[in-house]
């Protein structure tokens, strides 16, 4: 049962991701990205990381993709012209090179044995995250908070309307 679920959700994660990469309209890409993220969240559920799965749907599909959709709506960009044949070939070559190398390293004859699935699911409850975050990783946690604050201020500074070049030196309106 779990096998079939894994293969179904793996396909749900990978196939829409491919459509994100090849679609020319940003709206289609954003919609396919939601599908792909749902597949990834289901894979995290199969890995018994339930909290991370919820977080992935909330933050990625809920916040980030909605942000993308807002910008698409504001900008109203038409679909870009398709890339040239050379770009297509070079990108596909890079893709297959990466996949081939990783497949050789994973399933080839030099592949090292991988760890078996243990009985212990460390991330099954959010409690475990709380304990780790507020004891061992407290400094990184606070730095991340500052990073979000800096990003917020940065966004305000960047998206503020600049004055015309004639009015040099003044602060923006």
């Amino acid at each position: 049962m779990t096998d079939w679920l894994f293969y179904f959700f793996a396909a749900l994660a990978v196939v829409p991701a491919l459509f994100v990469a090849v679609s020319r309209k940003p709206v289609n890409a954003a919609m396919n990205m939601i599908l792909s993220l749902i597949g990834m969240a289901a894979l995290l559920v199969l890995l018994e990381a339930f909290f991370l799965a919820v977080l992935l749907v909330l933050v990625y599909a809920g916040a980030i993709v909605v942000l993308f959709l807002f910008i698409i709506m504001l900008i109203d960009a038409d679909s870009a012209p398709s890339s040239g044949v050379v770009t297509w070939l070079a990108s596909a070559l890079a893709f297959f090179l990466m996949v081939f190398t990783a497949l050789t390293l994973t399933f080839g004859e030099w592949a090292v044995p991988f760890a078996e699935r243990g009985d212990m699911a460390p991330a099954a409850v959010a409690y475990a995250f709380g304990v780790e975050l507020f004891t061992r990783h407290i400094l990184a946690f606070q730095v991340t908070g500052f990073l979000l604050l800096i990003a917020m201020i940065g966004v305000i500074v960047i998206s503020r309307k600049m004055k015309e070049p004639a009015a040099e030196g003044g602060s923006a309106q």
Binding site: D3, A49, V59
Partner: protein, 110 residues
Amino acid sequence: MSVMPEPALEHYLLVALLLFAIGVFGVLLRRNTLILMMCLELILAASIVALAAFSRFNATAEAPMMGGNVFVLFIIAIAAAEVAVGLAIIVTLWRRNQTLDVTELTSLKH
């Protein structure tokens, strides 16, 4: 390798690899800056799957390997910050140049 083997660590890593490679493929292929950002997000999400899989499969009762899972939390926070700043830059670029095509955004070259 049988037709439908029991999903093990290497299968999760394979999914993560495919997502990562698709993300790189999209970054190389597309010219629209918005879709470029989405492919960057795909790359980050692929690393999330890989980290969670490693953490789950290597965990024992003595060493619960929470580091990978906590790292995922930080990746999600940083992805959110990255998207916010990136989209602000994209809006500013659009306001100045009325285009999102990366081949036309070359003002830093000259």
